[in-house]
């Protein structure tokens, strides 16, 4: 039959168990605002009972584990939703820039305060194109007017400079995305190293014991989620505690070993692409910020570039084609109105800028009032151009603006929806893994009371021992 010392020992064990509970609750409370943290709890178990003549007698409690409350299904879901969210976020940021570069916006106030009566703000290509055709039309009334010719040249130069600016902005945006991809790849490689290191540490700490490396697992999960923000990853856990990470079916991390890493290369267009260093496979991960940037660059921005270049090229061709058939006020011809071949290179012929009389608007030499040529130039405003899919210049440009607007709107809407989904998954995960202050305070009180009771037990046993020892006196 156990004696008083056994009860003393039971009290001591109980004190330790409840002290551990208080420590774990304290740890939980300390991490209440750490988003990567999954709450922990002490697993208590009754200590082995002793056989007595009266039957089995319990010997108290013991803490057998500190357990992390985490559902891996929510972690995997959250990684997946993080990839989609990052994909859309990277597109949203750059699409917003693209939209601002087009500089097309409705400004009804400008139509009431200026002579232009235009609903559109005057900073974009649409207004500049309208001004150019407007100048041609005005000149059809008096083709020999030098002041109107000067205004025409100003408007043409404005349009050319807006094409140049947009082309430059699109190239800068492409460079920005290339830089962003390179930067993300470097960060991803660093994360891969961190995850492998954490795999090793977790494996070492958990080897041969039931103890879980909870805090290291939290840190690893945080790294995995950061990586999921860059590439869409598939994660699976090994029995030794390590995780396997693959991207697009390519195994990158196998438990304790890093199989491959990402590196950047350039394609035929000079754009950054992501390949795997060892397998040389090009990565199309289907999610994450890198894929978002690549898709935006190769699909949307490339399409806008093509459209704008085509628009500028057709404008150059059409205007020059008509202009070349005309005669200047000096009776000369043969000059182009625009030089260049695309949005980046379109310029107004310098010779015309130096001498507006050289603009070839007359039908023949010495016919300063003839306006058939300038009429044709003005009618370009409504001419359907075969190379622009039988659209007018303004319709073709409107299509570009509409497409960009639709993309921005689509990504904004999808990101709103995606944030809702991501928050929902986060809520589900937090409902399992998150720390509740109320809950932890209650736990603390429970452990505090149990601790006090255990201490009282020891005190009582101490008194009993005093009583036993006093028998001899």
């Amino acid at each position: 039959m156990p004696g008083l010392f056994s009860i003393l020992n039971m009290g001591s064990q109980s004190l330790q168990a409840h002290q551990l509970g208080i420590e774990v609750s304290g740890h939980n409370l300390a991490n209440v605002n750490n988003p990567a943290y999954a709450r922990q709890r002490v697993v208590l178990q009754t200590a082995t009972a002793q056989q007595t003549s009266a039957g089995q007698l319990g010997s108290g409690v013991q803490a057998i584990a500190i357990e992390q409350v985490r559902e891996s299904i929510y972690d995997r879901q959250y990684e997946s939703e993080t990839s989609i969210t990052s994909y859309l976020q990277s597109q949203q940021k750059s699409l917003g820039m693209l939209q601002s570069y087009l500089n097309e916006r409705v400004d009804r106030q400008s139509s009431t305060t200026s002579d232009s009566s235009s609903t559109l703000a005057s900073g974009g290509i649409a207004a500049a194109m309208q001004n150019l055709f407007d100048s041609f039309s005005k000149l059809s009334l008096n083709p020999s007017s030098l002041s109107d010719r000067t205004v025409l040249l100003q408007n043409a130069r404005m349009l050319a400079s807006r094409f140049n600016q947009l082309s430059s902005d699109l190239n800068n945006l492409t460079s920005f995305l290339n830089d962003s991809i390179s930067s993300d790849v470097n960060k991803a490689n660093s994360l891969l190293q961190d995850i492998v290191e954490l795999n090793k540490e977790i494996s070492q700490q958990e080897f041969g014991s039931d103890a879980r490396a909870n805090d290291l697992r939290d840190l690893r999960q945080q790294k995995l989620e950061e990586l999921a923000g860059i590439f869409k990853i598939d994660v699976s856990e090994e029995p030794d505690g390590g995780v396997n990470v693959s991207v697009n079916g390519n195994l990158i991390i196998s438990g304790l070993n890093q199989i491959d890493s990402f590196e950047t290369s350039t394609d035929a267009n000079g754009n950054v692409v992501v390949v795997l260093k060892n397998s040389a496979n090009q990565i199309q991960s289907g999610g994450g910020s890198v894929q978002g940037a690549i898709d935006l660059r190769d699909q949307i921005i490339a399409a806008v570039k093509t459209s704008i270049n085509n628009l500028a090229a057709q404008l150059i061709n059409e205007v020059n084609s008509i202009h070349s058939g005309g005669y200047s006020l000096n009776g000369t011809n043969g000059q182009d109105f625009f030089t260049g071949t695309d949005a980046a290179t379109i310029r107004v012929n310098d010779a015309l800028i130096q001498n507006p009389a050289l603009i070839q608007l007359n039908d023949s030499a010495n016919s300063s009032n003839s306006n058939q040529v300038v009429n044709e130039l003005a009618q370009l405003a409504t001419k359907k151009i075969a190379a622009l899919n039988n659209s007018t210049f303004s319709e073709a440009y409107r299509q570009v603006v509409e497409n960009v607007g639709a993309e921005v709107s689509r990504v904004n809407q999808r990101l709103d929806d995606q944030n809702t989904i991501k928050n929902l998954i986060l809520q589900k995960r937090n409902s399992v893994s998150g720390v509740s202050i109320d809950e932890e305070m209650t736990e603390l009180m429970k452990y505090q009371r149990a601790f006090e009771a255990s201490a009282k037990l020891i005190s009582i046993v101490d008194d009993l021992l005093d009583s036993v020892l006093s028998i001899k006196r």
């Binding site: 916006r105 400004d107 009804r108 039309s137 059809s140 016919s367 998150g434």
Partner: protein, 311 residues
């Protein structure tokens, strides 16, 4: 569902963020009076606005062109009327210059006719917007060149004007000529101001002939030839005046049509872009109410925890 300490504030922050964004959007719509500003707000509406604006821009350009052409037609009309006044006087002189007049009286008439010739040449060579008004497509040369004798009398005229005249775009599909060349010798195309075989008008030469007959003096030729010719010129100018009047009326009709169309386009643009203020203000009020409710309930819940009841 188990609700943890950060779930509620996180959710509240998300809700407040969403409501703030919505309030911001609605407030922007109210302050600008526009329901769309950027292409992303409504890409299709933005596309329609750009198309409508392009159309409105063209219509406004046509209207400005028409206003300018109306001025030009007015100038042409006034020039013809001035020439018609000269023609009236020449006809009066031709009728007055009968055999009862003394040679001195006829010479006085001849001096007056010489002045009338100068005036006609001056009108025919007048400029508009720095180009010769009656030069046809040739606006850089005086349409009428004169040859004078030693006394400074105009003894012959030649015409440098081009029979072709500029066509002006007044709508997507219509062009119109408002210019008149000083002379038309081919008998096709735009009627000449002073000379045209279709009406047998040749005003300057007829005036020169009258003057020479007055100086001769040759009242028979004046009666038999000059009076008849000047009558033809007179009819020619009446036709020209009528033609100018028709052109002016035509321009006004097209302008009225454009004005109507521009108003419709403005209405369409307004329908696409302008916000419905009462309903937008109502939506803002609803959103503000939700925002205030979220703040009040959030503050009430966030303010309390078990810690407030533990000693």
């Amino acid at each position: 569902m188990r609700v943890t300490s950060n779930m509620f504030p996180d959710s509240l922050v998300n809700q407040l963020g969403r409501l703030s964004a919505r309030q911001n959007k609605l407030q922007e719509q109210i302050s600008s009076g526009q329901k769309i500003t950027l292409p992303e707000d409504d890409p299709s509406a933005m596309g329609r606005v750009m198309d409508l604006q392009q159309e409105l821009g063209l219509i406004n350009r046509y209207r400005k062109n028409i206003a300018s052409l109306q001025n030009k037609v007015d100038v042409v009309y006034n020039s013809i009327r001035s020439i018609k006044t000269i023609s009236d006087r020449a006809n009066e002189i031709a009728i007055a210059a009968d055999s009862l007049k003394t040679p001195e009286e006829l010479k006085t008439y001849a001096i007056e006719v010489s002045n009338l010739i100068d005036q006609v040449v001056q009108i025919a060579n007048s400029k508009y917007n720095d180009s010769y008004l009656f030069g046809g497509i040739n606006g850089s040369q005086p349409p009428v060149s004169v040859t004078k004798d030693a006394d400074g009398k105009i003894i012959s005229v030649s015409f440098n004007s081009d029979e072709k005249v500029p066509q002006y775009q007044i709508s997507h599909t219509a062009t119109m000529a408002v210019d008149i060349p000083a002379a038309n010798s081919s008998g096709s195309g735009q009627t000449g101001l002073l000379t045209d075989p279709r009406t047998e008008a040749d005003f300057l030469n007829h005036l020169i002939s009258l003057r020479d007959h007055l100086l001769a003096p040759d009242t028979k030729s004046i009666r038999d030839v000059d009076t008849v010719n000047l009558q033809k010129d007179e009819k020619h100018f009446i036709l020209q005046l009528a033609d100018s009047g028709v052109k002016k009326a035509h321009l006004q009709t097209i302008d009225d049509f454009h004005s109507f169309k521009a108003q419709n386009l403005e209405n369409s643009i307004s329908g696409e872009t302008d916000t419905d203020l009462p309903s937008t203000i109502l939506k803002l009020n609803q959103t503000q109410s939700a925002f205030l409710a979220a703040l009040q309930t959030g503050a009430a819940i966030l303010n309390k925890s078990l810690l407030d009841y533990l000693r």
